[in-house]
């Protein structure tokens, strides 16, 4: 049986990297006594898979990982037990059952992510809000993208699904996952270059709002949050 866990990450926990978050939850599973399944073999490990990693320094309302359970548990009870063994800055939001299909889990299904981005250092020109539509109206948005191996110039326009202003923040929805992935930093870098703002003089904070899977059947995107793909899990109590 598979379950999907959604959690929030904030405060000091923003500085804990992806691998350490995984280690943290492995230990948390044991502390909370969640009946998680292990791989077979000499060094068994927990069957656990994390969705798209969050950059160091970012906060999030919607981080996800999927686990394999040995037996059913009450989702509500599991959330409560996990939150009893969390630390400040880490909060479990939901614990839901998901489909058994292999391709439904973890990283494989992530298609988009939503961010709220705020300026925390430096300044933008007064008319930055108006400039957004002009920025998006460009035929291409080319920027140098650094990968592990190389650096090349790419057009990120098709990967920006939404870029809007909400109060004094940027709201964006961008491609995420293993096929195509766009970091919010890169969007802001492209926008700052468009505004002719020196990239080194500004700094942004990115807060992940949600992660989505694409459930459309080929004819256009149809995004559904990873949480909504699961359903409440209850067990009969005697």
């Amino acid at each position: 049986m598979k379950a999907r866990i959604k959690f929030k990450k904030s405060g000091a926990l923003r500085f804990i990297g992806h691998l350490d978050v995984m280690r943290f939850f492995q230990k948390a599973m044991r502390r909370a006594g969640i009946p998680i399944a292990f791989t077979k073999g000499y060094s068994p490990h927990m069957i656990m898979s994390f969705a798209s990693p969050l950059g160091i320094g970012h906060s999030s309302d919607s981080e996800y990982f999927d686990i394999e359970l040995k037996e059913a548990v009450s989702g509500r009870e599991a959330v409560k037990r996990l939150n009893e063994v969390m630390v400040e800055g880490m909060e479990v939001v939901s614990f839901r059952q998901i489909g058994e299909e292999k391709k439904m889990t973890g990283m494989a299904i992530v298609a988009a992510a939503e961010y709220l981005t705020t300026l925390k250092k430096g300044s933008l020109p007064d008319n930055w809000k108006e400039k957004i539509s002009e920025f998006l109206a460009q035929p291409e948005i080319r920027i140098r993208k650094q990968t592990k191996r190389s650096e090349n110039e790419v057009d990120i326009k098709p990967l920006i699904y939404k870029l809007e202003v909400t109060e004094n923040c940027f709201y964006m929805q961008v491609a995420a996952g293993s096929v195509q992935n766009l970091k919010p930093e890169l969007v802001m870098e492209a926008f700052c270059r468009f505004l002719e703002v020196e990239w080194e003089t500004v700094d942004f904070h990115h807060h992940r709002l949600e992660m989505y899977a694409d459930v459309g059947n080929g004819s256009g995107r149809e995004l559904k949050s990873l949480e909504d793909m699961g359903w409440e899990m209850e067990i009969e109590t005697a």
Binding site: S10, G11, A12, L13, F15, I16, G17, D20, R23, F24, Q26, K27, A28, M29, R30, R31, F38, Y42, S43, P44, H45, M46, I56, G57, V85, V87, E88, G89, K120, K121, D203, H205
Partner: protein, 619 residues
């Protein structure tokens, strides 16, 4: 939300920011306004090393059990943050509250090895606390040192207000209560220190003075005031089963060196190896009750969520309930995917059987620490391990499927000859031969015998405390003797030999048996930029040599000089309960190559029986 001492920009610029943010599972937060004493406990090395230390976890838990005390942790900022803190004048802070250490009541530093001495100065310096005890006022915390290196605290005497000699579980309550009442009454800092010096086990260096003769030898060590004791008596917990033990140790976010539950099964060691300081300091051997340990294991695994549990002691095979405990751990936890790690086990039928159950034979290796290559020299150091035992153990292991062996040796032991050195290679080869005695179809390819040697450092309170060390050149020469002999061996392709750096060994030698005068070198080396000297990537011998030259201190006076048995030693004012006479006898027996059987076989009256318990009163 908790505040952080470092801003986002700094945290994103440095390596592993998780070292500095606190907030880990089981870390303790209290309301600072509701406690009387704020205690910062420090391990002067990087977070991942410091967090692996059991002693700190014990004291952290013990202090925080008191409602009037809030104990927080401090580790050395790594070199990247060190630069930022100096540049931006950020005072060193404790992890829990993120408040500056300089505002605490106490700063307690555990001193585990000599090569952390410059890191101690970094801690004081970054905390903006004067490095010399004499310059501190009530505006600064009381700086306490503890741990094994305090059995010769003299090189650090000027930097500490007081030293706690012995195991931490005994007189800290008394010290904290005294502090509270002194602060309440408004007594002077000096008066507080004077009263503290009267607590058994507490050494306040400023109340003692030393003089040297014309040859530079220590001539006298005397009290400046009569109210303080002449000798400092080591503190020790006799009932280790009832001593405080942390049921919920702090779980780091990043992987610490020791990322597991640690069960301390006993203190002390019955073996009496003559080079081993711990074996003398922690006498008598005291065991924890096995049923209590089982409960601890269960609670600690539950509270931390660790996926591994390890036993800790100087010689686990000597724990009388080892089988009972190990079988329990395997039965109870192995099914839950908990690894069981068993260091310091003697290789015999039982340990091989256990190892077969808990580890992957193909990946794991067997470890022997013969310490010396020849039987003669093993007798000198009283390492009760014979060649027959080694070859038998290795043979059984090879037949059981193992093919990797690690061997640990020391070079530069007293009375060592070239012949003894060469025996290291020959013994390694004989182990390999034992492997190739197994029919070809039954073995798994080649065997791998890896021998490593470190250089011997004589330590205070051991039978070798008077002996001369070698020079750096001589150590290297010896390593080459061994290396060349390895090339002569039949199975040389299955053998590997490596040795440690000799420069660090020389410095360890100076500080292990140094006196008050060498404190200046530490200060000068720190001023020249020495830091993290136990890390090869940061150790800089040239700066140390410069520091010795600038302070006019002769390295050889402390290292290659043979001390007279009647010489007044800098640490003679400490009473560890093992008599100097016993150490002298042991030295004489060493020179004759006479072994001394372990405490369980026969008592040689070392003096530790005065503590009234432990192995001295078994049966």
């Amino acid at each position: 939300m908790r505040k952080l001492a470092l801003n986002d920009e700094i945290l994103l610029e440095i390596e592993k920011p998780a070292r500095y943010i606190g907030n880990e599972v089981n870390s303790v937060n209290k309301d600072a306004s509701k406690v009387d004493v704020r205690f910062a406990i420090c391990f002067p090395d990087v977070y991942e090393i410091g967090m692996s230390h059991l002693g700190i976890q014990i004291l952290y838990d013990m202090f925080n059990q008191r409602e009037d005390v809030w104990c927080e942790r401090v580790y050395s900022p790594w070199t990247d943050l060190d630069k930022v803190m100096r540049r931006e004048q950020i005072p060193l802070f404790a992890l829990e509250s993120q408040d500056p250490v300089k505002d605490f009541d106490f700063l307690g530093i555990t001193i585990q090895y000599e090569m952390c001495y410059t890191n101690i100065l970094q801690i004081l310096d970054l905390s903006q606390i004067p490095v010399h005890s004499e310059e501190r006022t009530w505006e600064h915390p009381i700086v306490i040192g503890g741990g094994p290196c305090t059995y010769n605290p003299e090189p650090l005497a000027e930097f500490f207000d007081l030293f706690y000699i012995g195991e931490g579980e005994t007189v800290y309550d008394e010290l904290l209560d005294l502090y509270k009442s002194c602060r309440l009454e408004g007594t002077s800092r000096e008066t507080f220190l004077e009263k503290a010096a009267c607590i058994e086990g507490i050494y306040v260096p400023r109340f003692y003075e030393v003089s040297y003769d014309e040859n530079g030898l220590l001539e006298s060590f005397t009290r400046k005031i009569q109210s303080v004791p002449e000798k400092i008596k080591k503190q020790i917990v006799m009932d280790v089963t009832s001593a405080p033990y942390p049921m919920a140790p702090v779980v780091p976010f990043i992987k610490a060196t020791q990322d597991r539950v640690v069960l301390e099964i006993q203190r002390g060691c019955i073996r009496g190896c003559r080079f081993c300081q711990a074996g003398m300091l922690y006498r008598p051997t005291r065991e924890r009750d096995v049923e209590t340990l089982k409960e601890y294991a269960r609670a600690m695994l539950k509270n931390t969520g660790h996926e591994e549990i390890s036993l800790s002691s100087l010689s686990s095979s000597d724990y009388s309930e080892l089988k009972e405990l190990v079988n329990f751990l395997i039965e109870e936890f192995q099914g839950e995917g908990v690894n069981i790690s068993l260091p310091s086990l003697r290789i015999d039928a039982f340990s091989l059987d256990v190892m077969r159950q808990v580890q992957d034979i193909k990946k794991s290796s067997l470890t022997f620490a013969p310490e010396a290559g020849s039987q003669r020299l093993r007798d000198v150091v009283n390492k009760g391990l014979t060649e027959e035992m080694i070859l038998d153990g290795a043979g059984q292991a090879f037949e059981g499927g193992w093919s990797k062996v690690k061997l640990y040796f020391m070079l530069g032991l007293p009375t060592e000859t070239d012949e003894d050195m060469k025996e290291i290679a020959r013994l390694s080869d004989r182990i390999a031969r034992r492997y190739y005695e197994i029919p070809k179809e039954e073995r798994h390819g080649k065997c791998q015998i890896t021998a490593s040697s470190s250089f011997f450092v004589p330590k205070p309170f051991t039978p070798f405390q008077w002996t001369a060390m070698c020079s750096s050149e001589e150590y290297i020469r010896r390593a080459y003797v061994v290396k060349h002999e390895f090339q002569e061996q039949l199975n040389r392709k299955s053998l590997k030999y490596n040795w440690h750096d000799a420069d660090v060994t020389i410095l360890e030698g100076v500080f292990a048996r140094g006196d008050r005068r060498v404190g200046k070198v530490i200060e000068e080396a720190y001023r020249l930029g020495c830091l993290y000297d136990s890390w090869t990537e940061t150790f800089c011998n040239e700066k140390w040599i410069e520091a010795f030259q600038n302070t006019n201190i002769d390295i050889e006076f402390y290292t290659t000089r043979e001390r007279d048995l009647d010489e007044l030693l800098p640490w003679d004012f400490i009473d560890i309960g093992v008599s100097k006479n016993f150490l002298k006898h042991e030295w004489e027996r060493a020179v004759q190559g006479t072994i001394t059987p372990n405490c369980r076989l026969k008592c040689y009256g070392c003096g530790a029986a005065q503590f009234g318990g432990g192995v001295c009163y078994e049966g």
